[in-house]
Amino acid sequence: MSSNGYSQINKSSNGYDRFVANSICTRCFSSQGTAVVEQQPKSCDGLTVDSIVSSGWAILEEGEGDWKSHAAGIAQSIQLIKRRLQWRKLRVQLEMLSVELNKPNIWDDPVHAGNISREHGSLLGKMKEVNGFERELLEHIDMLKLAKEENDAELESESMKALLNMRRYVKEKELEALLAGEQDPCSCFIEVQAGAGGTESMDWASMIMNMYKIWANNRGYKVMVVDEMAGEIAGIKRATIKVDGEYAFGYAKAEVGVHRLVRISPFDSGKRRHTSFAAVAVIPILGASSSHFQINESDLRIERFRAGGAGGQHVNTTESAVRIIHIPSGVTATCQNERSQHQNKAMAMAVLQSRLDQLEMARQAQLNAQHTQSLTDISWGNQIRTYVLHPYRMVKDLRTNYEVSDPDSVLEGDIDGFILSFLSASLDKDEGNL
């Protein structure tokens, strides 16, 4: 399992690769459960991944390095991946899940047992994959040393090639490890709300929303406006979009917080400089396998939004917005952009479900889970990024200090740099994760 992805890229499989793959598989099968993660794999002469990193071998460009450079690069990537996966926490979690799974009465509640077992499987899979990398690296090194001793030039060049391939592969894995959170693969809703300051802020809110729409489109996500409350003169007071696609939540969650704009206001005849704020919230849309907040049909009140007059045959309108109120929690959801009431209702229901799921996650967050804040939780003091259009031009993330001098490209959706730097900073800085 651990070697699958890697051997896929080694399309020109030959005897050497098969040998390595076999030896890894044998080890996988021979080690069961968490035992797999307990021991640091070692090469024949006692090298470990950690010792390679601490030996400080120079990591050169792919094209020019010797095997030590490749090995050091791979070892560094493995360490980074471990840090990003929050390795230490992962092990504790896995241990707890194993204890839970071994309880004799676990299957009394098959749904719960299913969830636990699925989570256990997914964590174990992640750990096995990384352990696979560690072993694989050391095998390659052993093989290379052997080839040198035996003066087998062919074997040596194959081993080098394998090391280089692995170096590239684990580099890709570094990025994937940024999005290892349970909800990261989900689609999501992005909500933007204008801060105080009237038209100026509402215009800013719509600029931000537009930035996300373009960003999501460029990433190949499907974007749908769910709800939009237009400002009186320009912009939006508040809007919700649905962003559909793999890892939409994982990326977009980096955008949660208050975004600040400084510019000469186009709405100010005196051409003065204005500062505006917009708040962004991101809500994951949980997959079918996750446990949802149970909505009781009788707890809901469904209203025609902006209904006026006699209705029915009297009125011909394409306006069929629906608002759903969850009475016990007071949480509401509105959808007005679908073309039929039925579908507005279905979409509003989906938004409501996600909001209630999020509330439930927040409630459970005291235990361990990470959670993102809803719009109402976000304090206007929680600024994450500043966009300056005047007197100079710059966008700067206040959390990571990542900055870009071209605000236009950022507002046209080029925000991956900000997202990745935030994600890596929030996971990589924490050495305790290793």
Partner: protein, 364 residues
């Protein structure tokens, strides 16, 4: 890179929600059938925009120019219509403009490719688009007649002048039917009738809820309505299940031996003297025959109540749409008073705006 930027900028400008497109392209998940080629099911007079072939095109700036012009026209309306007769405001008109673009602009892989060269493929020429939008604003022609369809529940129903545009409220009749069917599975296999079907909305939606043995007979006095209903029935592949018959209320049912298990109707219920005060879209453009319910608006409703008592199977279900509180109360009094013993569990159901819209119950 350039190409990418361009197509995404079109997406942003013209139609941020592209998801509807795919949904629009497939009329029925199971069956497909000829739409325009076969004469037997061709749409009477003009074909709805979204079903027309994309034989027109415009350059991106030309289309953008039209969009800007149309938006400007919509914004110039402001709250004028809303204040005069509860008509659409500028916001709503802008949303309609977006939907018009969704129906008229072709969104597939080829289209994205040709958009890269600056050409947008269209289902109607620019000239027609200018004319259509002018009709919307200046003549208050209903948006649904403009595009030739109305999205209703999860359906896209074709409509044209001469047939009532189905209202969102009426969707709830299908919810009521669904409830009854869930409780009594036998209802799924019986005969249903839809009196005054108009575009066929209720019949198509109910037809899709029924099992193989279930059938619907839809009646309408208007030949235009009957042909539009038949078109919608075919479009959803329900021609073996839904039978559209021309004639007034119960008349076309005279040769039916089977007693129906259910009856639904959204008959004309607006009191005759209210017709001229209605919103321009309704009063000037929609068929009076589908709206005018006689002096107090109850002519058709009372006729249907009386007929339902003898038509329906014992235990048969009915759901009727009314003008609101006054009519629904009157109907309930009538059914439990003068027609005592013929119906049971008669109740009033509100629509989502809180109006006492529907009367439902069972036959004894």
């Amino acid at each position: 890179m350039m190409r990418n930027c361009f197509s995404s900028s079109i997406r942003q400008t013209l139609y941020p929600s592209t998801s509807l497109f795919k949904y629009l392209q497939k009329p029925h998940p199971a069956k497909s059938f000829p739409i325009s080629s076969s004469s037997s099911c061709s749409f009477p007079t003009t074909t709805p925009l979204f079903l027309r072939p994309p034989i027109h095109s415009a350059s991106f700036p030309e289309l953008k120019k039209w969009q800007d012009w149309a938006k400007h026209l919509a914004l110039s309306v402001g709250p004028k219509f809303l204040e005069s007769d509860n008509g659409p405001d500028a916001d709503l008109l802008c949303r309609e403009l977006k939907w018009l673009l969704e129906d008229v602009v072709v969104d597939d892989e080829n289209a994205t490719a040709s958009a890269a060269s600056g050409v947008v493929k269209l289902r109607a020429g620019l000239e027609e688009l200018y004319a259509l939008w002018r009709q919307r604003i200046e003549e208050r022609r209903p948006f649904q007649y403009l595009v030739g369809c109305e999205h209703w529940r999860d359906l896209v129903l074709c409509v044209r002048e001469g047939v009532l545009i189905p209202r969102p409220e009426t969707e709830q009749i299908v919810d009521l039917v669904e409830e009854v069917i869930c409780e009594d599975g036998g209802m799924r296999e019986g005969l249903w009738v839809d009196l005054g079907t108009g575009s066929g909305a209720l019949s198509v939606a109910i037809g899709r809820l029924l099992l193989d043995a279930g059938r619907v007979i839809a009646t309408d006095l208007s030949p235009i309505a009957a042909s539009v209903a038949a078109f919608n029935v075919r479009r959803y592949g329900l021609q073996d299940k839904v039978d559209v018959r021309l004639g007034s209320w119960f008349e076309p049912l005279q040769d039916v031996n089977e007693k129906p298990v259910g009856l639904v109707s959204n008959p004309p219920y607006i009191p005759g003297d209210h017709i001229f005060g209605l919103q321009a879209e309704v009063a000037r453009h929609e068929p009076r025959i589908a709206l005018d319910g006689g002096k107090n608006g109850m002519d058709a409703l009372l006729h249907i109540c009386e007929g339902a008592a003898t038509l329906l199977k014992p235990g048969g279900f009915f759901a009727l749409e009314t003008n609101g509180e006054k009519q629904s109360e009157f109907l309930v009094d009538f059914m439990t008073g003068k027609m005592k013993g013929r119906f049971r569990d008669v109740r009033v159901v509100s629509d989502f705006a809180g109006v006492h819209r529907f009367v439902s119950g069972f036959c004894c």
